[in-house]
């Protein structure tokens, strides 16, 4: 492998991370924010978002790509919180109650999601994305029409004035930051929500342990090759469903942690961006559709959110409009997802071409590869230039 090829390979693997670091670092000086402020924001946002992003890991191991269906879990968590507020359960008890309500719902939704994805093998990502929209319709129907009419709501303050349906914004004052505030540490002038971080650490340990169990190993086998796994006696479809159920349940808990930190719930669209931010974060951290690690999660959350903190102000200073910064960060968020998916698809095809090339014995085979290659048309980096 020549040096140039190695460089191309390295770059295509880490392109997203490199581009991101460059943009973020370049945006810090014009934003005029102090490093201390940015660091504090990153600590807060690590506590707020990491759990949600960690929920993406298992489906990636199981070869199901980025689980855009995690939004389903987020909706289950929100329903749990609505009931916690309804019954007036405050403090961390309220969060626990929300989790208990959300748990069966998210298991059920995860099961549905797994069944649907098993019917759309190879198209899991787009299917999960649409499924999230579909279930969103049902969620809207449930929260807007069922709650308060079919299911009685004791707390009239959270119900719309027409008598049923939940208000657009729900004040979570009773459970606000109740998890973060159980134990707060002040280190070097930074505020650290200890319990939240302990819970995130426990989840990381769980994931590391889970990968070593029989089920975890099965999952990785399924992720490698479904046909081989099936032949080896692993129940492929069941394993995939389990991966999605765990992911959905984790997303449910993650959304509860996220919302207790935010302190209020936009009832009808708090979950809209959940999948987008989580997926963007893990990709920015250097993960791909098939490979991800716990490190990717934390690097990603830190990078993505430091850019989110600086970009509106940088936009204001550089272009005289905060809206430009706002659009820019969304552009980057979506762009990062698109770029990672493109690079991944491109790498997979290139790996297949390289494999063919090595089978044919190097230079001699190159002309043949070019002929076989699907309309190679001089696409950069395609096989045959060894």
């Amino acid at each position: 492998m020549s040096a140039q090829k190695k460089f191309v390979k390295f770059f295509s693997q880490y392109a997203v991370v490199i581009i991101f670091v460059v943009i973020t670092v370049a945006a810090i000086p014009p934003s005029g924010l102090s490093v201390k402020y940015i660091l504090q924001e990153i600590i807060t946002r690590l506590g707020r978002n990491s759990f949600l992003v960690l929920a993406l890991l298992l489906p990636i191991y199981a070869g199901m790509g980025l689980n855009f269906g995690m939004t389903l879990g987020a909706m289950a968590g929100q329903i749990g919180l609505i009931f916690a507020v309804n019954f007036g359960i405050s403090n961390w008890h309220g969060l626990l109650f929300a989790l208990l309500v959300g748990l069966p719902i998210s298991v059920f939704l995860g099961w549905i999601c797994g069944l649907v994805m098993n019917r759309a093998k190879g198209r899991e990502m787009v299917t999960g994305y649409i499924l999230a929209f579909f279930i969103n319709g049902i969620y809207q129907f449930f929260v807007m029409y069922m709650l308060g009419s079919v299911i009685p709501m004791g707390n009239r303050a959270i119900v719309l004035s027409r008598g049923y349906g939940i208000r657009n914004t729900l004040n979570l004052e009773s459970v606000r930051q109740s998890l973060d505030n159980i134990l707060v540490l002040h280190v070097l002038g930074f505020t650290v929500p200890v319990v939240t971080f302990i819970i995130i650490a426990l989840l990381c340990i769980f994931i590391v342990w889970f990968k070593k169990t029989k089920l975890g190993q099965d999952m990785r086998a399924v992720g490698q090759d479904m046909v081989v796994a099936e032949a080896a006696g692993i129940p492929v479809e069941k394993t995939r469903i389990v991966a999605i159920i765990i992911s959905t349940v984790l997303a449910c808990a993650g959304q509860i942690i996220f919302l207790q930190n935010m302190g209020n719930l936009a009832t009808y669209n708090a979950h809209d961006q959940t999948g987008f931010f989580a997926v963007a974060a893990i990709l920015v951290g250097g993960a791909s559709v098939t490979h991800a690690s716990i490190a990717n999660v934390f690097i990603g959350v830190m990078l993505l959110h430091s850019m989110f903190v600086v970009s509106p102000l940088a936009g204001q200073k550089l272009f005289g409009s905060a809206m430009i910064g706002e659009y820019f960060r969304q552009f980057i968020g979506y762009g990062v997802i698109a770029l990672s998916l493109v690079l991944y698809a491109w790498r997979t095809r290139k790996a297949a071409a390289d494999a063919r090339l090595s089978l044919r014995g190097g230079a001699n085979g190159s002309t043949k590869v070019r002929a076989v290659k699907n309309g190679a048309n001089g696409a950069p980096g395609n096989g045959g230039q060894a």
């Binding site: 430009i324 552009f331 762009g335 998916l341 491109w346 696409a379």
Partner: protein, 347 residues
């Protein structure tokens, strides 16, 4: 009996349910004091508004690129054409055709790059197209703010720069197609002849194209790329042509939509336009690798009919607005159904 069974299987339960539901809505309409003639007029109008964007799905489905979730690129090209036509103060039919003419080069360029990209990621087109579309919309949001437009009807009054979120086309080319040879019956019913003729023209051209040599080659690529390549068809070229066509039709589609709707909607407005177009063609009976003119026609009428009738009828019936929820469930449910359906070998 067997015929009926295979027919139902081919057509799919969701479509039959939607069809029956729509019929039911029409039957119920007079009982809840919704005027039938006004409703039918609305459905026809909205059919014409949206049909070309649905038509834009056809070439990419036929060439095996799947559902064009990146239609936003075409829509943005159309928006550029429309805003430029206003900027150049083009009025009447000249303004409308001018908008299409100005949008064409953009749609060709966008389509060409889009095709370049999608040809490198075969098999992953749909997810990637979706995110390429989203990020492009966001990029254009920045552009709408900083491009040097200066027609006072288009830019923010107080700043004198940056385009407004909605720009009216009144006084330029509002309803230029709708009013062409329009037939008015009674107080409420208007038959938008010009609009439907224009849609018909495009559908006919597409129908002709799919039967031409290039069109047949394109369909062959979609049905079996290996076989097509073996018979000497350039797969990437066919896919490129289909993607450029789809992008161009998206541009024309949005301009037709605007002249009827009355406003050019900028910024994030293009993103919610894509899913209804995808849902409509699927409701019409297309699958993710086969689509025809009948699918476009039936799908757009059913979907737009549903969107027109549910707010008026259901609202009068239940005294609450459930149309938004129904729209979300039906359109996404339909896409989901198509994605999870086992792909049958085409007959």
């Amino acid at each position: 009996m067997r015929n009926l069974k295979t027919f139902i299987e081919d057509f799919g339960w969701p479509r039959i349910i939607i069809f029956l539901f729509l019929i039911l809505l029409f039957i119920m309409a007079p009982f809840v004091r919704v005027r039938l003639d006004a409703s039918i007029s609305d459905v026809l109008n909205r059919f014409g508004q949206n049909a070309i964007m649905v038509l834009a799905m056809v070439p990419m489905i036929q060439s095996g690129c799947g559902l064009n979730f990146g239609l936003a690129l075409g829509i943005v090209a159309g928006l550029l054409g429309a805003t430029l036509s206003l900027q150049l103060q083009l009025h009447g039919i000249l303004g409308f055709l001018g908008a299409i003419a100005l949008a064409s080069p953009f749609s060709l360029v966008f389509g060409w790059f889009y095709a370049k990209l999608l040809n490198k990621v075969k098999g992953e087109e749909m997810t990637i197209a979706m995110y390429v579309g989203f990020s492009f919309i966001m990029f254009m949001c920045i552009m709408w703010l900083i491009l040097p437009y200066n027609n006072p009807t288009m830019v923010w009054g107080y700043a004198g720069k940056g385009l407004r979120t909605t720009i009216t086309v009144e006084g330029y080319w509002l309803k230029i197609l709708n009013n062409f040879l329009a037939i008015k019956i009674g107080q409420f019913f208007v038959f938008p002849t010009g609009l439907l003729l224009f849609v018909g023209l495009f559908a006919f051209l597409m129908w002709l194209f799919l039967r031409s040599k290039t069109g047949t080659a394109m369909t062959a690529v979609g049905s079996n790329p290996d076989f097509a390549r073996a018979s000497g068809v350039n797969v990437d070229k066919m896919r490129t042509i289909s993607i450029i066509m789809s992008t161009f039709l998206g541009a024309v589609g949005i301009i037709v939509y605007e002249q009827s709707f009355g406003f050019i909607q900028l910024y994030t407005a293009p993103s919610p336009m894509v899913f209804p177009a995808v849902a409509a063609i699927l409701i019409g009976g297309a699958s993710i690798n086969k689509a025809s003119m009948v699918n476009v026609l039936v799908g757009t009428i059913l979907f737009q009919g549903l969107l027109t009738m549910t707010p008026s009828v259901i609202n009068s019936l239940l005294q609450t607005d459930m149309s938004e929820v129904i729209r979300i469930i039906v359109s996404n449910g339909m896409i989901l159904y198509a994605l999870t359906r086992k792909i049958k070998v085409s007959k």
